[in-house]
């Protein structure tokens, strides 16, 4: 005999209004009386309504996992299981989707089937880090559900003090701005870290994100320990005929307002014949003019990536944006992608060896200093890493001449 639907007067208020309602979705599951999860979802709705009434959460953690892996399941046990017993266990399985969040319906339908059989019928597409979150699983169903998902060709996502599931913008798949293959980089880098995803033993979490250009559709800057950005080294590509059309379309004044005046580097000028003058040495590859003039302007042809390190949310020292640690790496050939994978591996080693417990990469770099980090990682110092040189004299420059020699050697080397 099936359970009675709980009263949910508060949640019910979230069924009105035009936006698709998750409450309606939850109720649909709770009333799917032919399904194994209907009672669990009634119970879940009851607990959620209780949270709305009391304005408190009632989940606690615990230990649940699958054979062979040390992470990827987020255990949730109810603190009010006495009243909402059927959802007493409501764990999440984090699964890594394909880069770019592409699916075919066959796959999604299979997900649904598995989750109807072994879970709650509730799937989040996607978590903020990028996982498919299969939510609402009893402890005894975790392994079997996982086995089936895994057999489809999907692997467990990250949790705990390890490498996390990654995210990338869809990049070359459908965006003309993309300066490297974000989806490929995402896959090869993360695939080289499976051990650190599945058996986390780093000092703290480690996130990689991949954005094809400075627009950062993957939110990499502040939300990834390592942010990978597409950029270019040569001159941007300009189609002057299309520029003229755009000038005509917007009008000269608006073109100046929206393009020329908004360039952060003051690198643009509109010539008298309505063609565009680009000072590529000043341009900082911010993408703005290219965004406005999608037909007229394009990134250059000598493309690659820049790496930023240290982005994170606020814990302990306040939010951090990533800062540049590699201003340019070519990203075309197999070897180029290998070099990125190699960088990732070396980074994890360095992080494992040098970070304190519960210290994010950004905090570690802040503590040991960027220069020591670069030296440890054998990365070359570059002017693109700084917004400005030091403003205070509190530095000991004993080895000045030696450092100058290094710089000059590098410059000479680069010139060769």
């Amino acid at each position: 005999m099936s359970k009675k639907m709980p009263e949910t007067p508060l949640l019910d208020q979230l069924e009105s209004g035009p936006w698709p309602s998750f409450v309606t979705g939850l109720k649909r599951l709770a009333t799917a009386e032919d399904k194994p999860y209907a009672d669990m979802m009634k119970s879940l709705l009851g607990q959620l309504e209780h949270s709305y009434e009391t304005r408190k959460g009632y989940w606690k953690g615990g230990t649940v996992g699958v054979f062979g892996y040390g992470a990827g399941v987020i255990p949730r046990f109810s603190e009010v299981a006495d009243r909402y017993g059927e959802s007493a266990e409501f764990h999440t399985i984090r699964i890594m989707p394909a880069p770019g969040f592409f699916y075919d319906t066959k796959t999604l339908r299979q997900f649904c089937d598995i989750w109807e059989e072994h879970g709650s019928g509730l799937i989040a597409l996607h978590g903020q880090s990028g996982d498919v979150m299969f939510q609402g699983c009893r402890t005894d169903q975790v392994q079997v559900a996982w086995d089936k998902i895994n057999e489809m060709g999907f692997d467990m996502g990250g949790a705990g003090a390890g490498v996390r599931t990654s995210a990338s913008c869809l990049g070359p798949a459908r965006c003309e701005q993309s300066c490297f293959d974000t989806l490929r980089a995402h896959k090869v880098v993360i695939d080289s870290c499976t051990d650190d995803i599945h058996r986390p033993s780093l000092p703290y979490k480690m996130k990689f994100k991949f954005s094809g250009c400075a627009n950062d559709c993957a939110n990499a800057t502040q939300r990834a320990d390592i942010a990978v950005f597409g950029t270019w080294r040569d001159d941007m590509q300009v189609n002057q005929d299309e520029v003229k059309k755009k000038v005509t379309e917007l009008g000269r004044k608006e073109f100046i307002n929206q393009v020329i005046r908004m360039c952060p580097a003051q690198a643009l000028a509109l010539n008298d014949d309505d063609t565009l003058d680009v000072d590529n040495k000043s341009c900082v590859r911010c993408m703005h003019c290219i965004n406005v003039c999608t037909k007229a302007l394009k990134p250059g042809r000598d493309r690659g990536i820049a790496l930023l390190a240290g982005g994170k949310r606020t814990l302990k020292i306040g939010d951090m944006m990533g800062t540049v640690i590699v201003p340019f790496m070519k990203m075309e050939t197999d070897e180029d992608y290998e070099a990125l994978v190699d960088f990732g591996r070396r980074l994890l080693d360095f992080f494992a060896d040098n970070a304190l417990e519960h210290e994010r990469l950004g905090e570690m770099i802040e503590r040991i200093g960027l220069v020591n980090f670069l030296e440890g990682m054998e990365l070359d110092l570059d002017l693109n890493m700084i917004t400005r040189p030091r403003t205070n004299p509190y530095v000991r420059t004993d080895e000045w001449d030696e450092e100058v020699r290094k710089w000059n050697d590098r410059k000479a080397g680069a010139a060769e």
């Binding site: 959620l48 953690g61 989040a124 003309e176 911010c286």
Partner: protein
């Protein structure tokens, strides 16, 4: 008991297997795009091939019925291809222009608003809240739904100066990240400690280490080792609560909601920016959070009316100045807005540049 299956450590699936053929064919060879109407993108490849993307609002926390409904639409119009965006919108792609209007109709008929492209208010980045997290001060799905109901028209139209990225977070940890507008829990009272439980469940040195202001110290209560908080120092951040649940930080009344503005990840025009506190002390007023919605709408209204094309929220405010932002939005300015955290001095006005 049967032997446990060894996992197949297959890693990240290959994306191309799921992509529409037109995307595979023109991979890395796109030439330009535009937006024929809100909610629709047209991308044209160097080859001349064209793909239309119809983007719709979605609820992220999706039941299988909803997902299957999306699949039905994708099967009908897109040969079974579908994707989700980084912001949990759903996207349908077709190279057949004729299918665009029927696709839109099918989505809207099903109750899924088409929009979220270009200079609209996108879907709100969504976290877990009372539905699943172990530390939330409020709900996530509910806040998101309540706000999106109010911002429905702004999602379906492209009337904003630039894209608007809103984030929510159900505790101060802020899994939602930076946003043009960020709606976050802000606790206002120190944790209430259940001393009976501390020694049983908390690794005390780790908890002490996690406090950003070193307000936690070991203590003995009724002869049991526990922790105590120096309430004068405590900034009510809640960082001690996840590693030590007996240090309850959530409170139905004193866990308030704060609104932050001007965060930005893109390096477009301006460098990335952190969001800045503008309103706090808003009640955690489930199920519809009207006080929060009111503040959000005020801010969006001022932005929409005053910012110049392409100015993101933070860029607009930096241009017009914070005094004018507070004036336009009629929000109160208090001592709590003044940054007194490490390096806070960099957020003071070190110049004779003034707004009147």
């Amino acid at each position: 008991m049967t032997e446990l299956r060894r996992p197949n450590e297959c890693g990240v699936p290959d994306a191309k297997q799921f992509m529409p053929p037109v995307l595979v064919k023109n991979y890395g060879k796109w030439a330009w795009h535009d937006r024929p109407r809100p909610g629709v993108l047209r991308h044209v490849a160097e080859s001349g091939d064209t793909v239309y993307t119809v983007k719709a609002g979605f609820q992220r926390q999706a039941d299988v019925f909803t997902i299957r409904r999306m699949c039905d639409i994708a099967d009908k119009y897109c040969d079974g291809h579908i994707r989700f965006t980084i912001r949990s919108s759903v996207e349908f792609m077709t190279d057949d222009e004729a299918k665009v209007e029927p696709l839109i109709k099918a989505l809207e008929d099903a109750g899924y608003p088409v929009g979220g492209t270009g200079n609209s208010v996108g879907f709100i980045s969504h976290t877990q809240g009372w539905l699943h997290c172990d530390i939330p001060g409020t709900d996530a799905s509910g806040v998101v739904k309540a706000m999106m109901d109010q911002l429905y028209d702004e999602f379906r139209n492209e009337d904003m100066p630039n894209r608007v990225k809103i984030t929510t977070s159900c505790c101060q940890i802020n899994c939602g990240g930076q946003g043009d507008i960020a709606i976050n829990i802000q606790h206002t009272k120190p944790p209430v400690i259940n001393h009976e439980l501390v020694s049983g469940v908390c690794e005390r040195p780790a908890v002490i280490a996690r406090c950003p202001v070193a307000a936690i110290r070991p203590a003995l209560v009724n002869g049991k080792p526990t922790l105590e908080v120096d309430e004068k120092k405590c900034v009510c951040c809640g960082a001690c609560y996840p590693p030590c649940p007996p240090m309850q930080i959530n409170d139905p009344v004193n866990s308030k909601i704060a609104v932050w503005v001007g965060g930005k990840h893109s390096s477009t025009r301006s460098k990335p920016m952190f969001h800045k506190l503008v309103a706090a002390g808003l009640p955690n007023n489930a199920p519809r959070w009207p006080e929060v919605a009111e503040v959000v709408k005020k801010i969006l209204g001022a932005y929409k009316a005053d910012a110049r094309p392409w100015e993101r929220m933070g860029e607009w405010i930096e241009r017009i100045g914070w005094p004018r932002f507070f004036e336009m939005t009629d929000l109160p300015f208090t001592k709590y807005h003044v940054d007194n955290w490490r390096g806070g001095r960099t957020n003071l006005n070190a110049s004779a540049q003034l707004h009147f």
